[in-house]
Symmetry: C2
Subunit: 88 residues, 2 copies
C-alpha cells in the first residue's frame, strides 16, 4: 500500500521571550522617534514559511516542531508558534 | 474640544518581492536538509508589532504606512502588509 503524501505550508512565528532584549525593536523605535513618529513600543519577530510533504497534518506539525527545536528557534530566548495549512 | 486618542497595535509583515533572493530561507533549507528534513521551500519574513496612539484607525494606518515607506521596508525589494487592531 503506497502511502500518499500531502503538501503542507507551515508558518512559524518566532518571538523573543518576555523580558528578553529586542535590539532591533529598540533601534526601530528610536529611529522612528527621530523621524517624528512617537510610538509606544516596537517588537520584532521572525517568520518562516516552510512547504513540506507529510503523511498527515500531525506528522507535518511534529516535523516542523523538531525543525524549530533543532535549528530555527532557540528555545532559551524564543517562543515560537506553528500555523499549518494543507496545500493540495 | 480635546480630541481623544485611541491606542492601536499595527502588525507589519515584510516579505521579499517575488524573484528576489532570500539568503536566509536558502540557508535554512540547506541546513534542514543536512539534519534530514527534506522540505520543498523555506521563505522568511520580518514582523514588526508597533503600538501607537492616533485619532482614528485611518490616521494610525496612514502613519504606519509612512513608517514603512521611510524606514521599516525597502519598497524596491520588499512587499509589506499592515494589520491594525484597536487596543482599548
Amino acid at each position: 500500500m503506497r502511502l500518499t503524501k500531502m503538501q503542507y505550508q507551515a508558518t512559524v512565528t518566532i518571538e523573543q521571550k518576555a523580558g528578553m532584549l529586542d535590539p532591533e525593536g529598540t533601534t526601530a523605535k528610536r529611529a522612528l522617534g527621530h523621524l517624528g513618529y512617537a510610538v509606544e513600543s516596537v517588537k520584532t519577530a521572525k517568520l518562516y514559511e516552510i512547504v513540506l510533504e507529510a503523511e498527515s497534518a500531525e506528522v507535518a506539525e511534529q516535523k516542523v516542531d523538531e525543525m524549530c527545536q533543532k535549528l530555527i528557534a532557540n528555545p532559551i530566548i524564543h517562543n515560537y508558534t506553528i500555523k499549518l495549512k494543507e496545500l493540495n
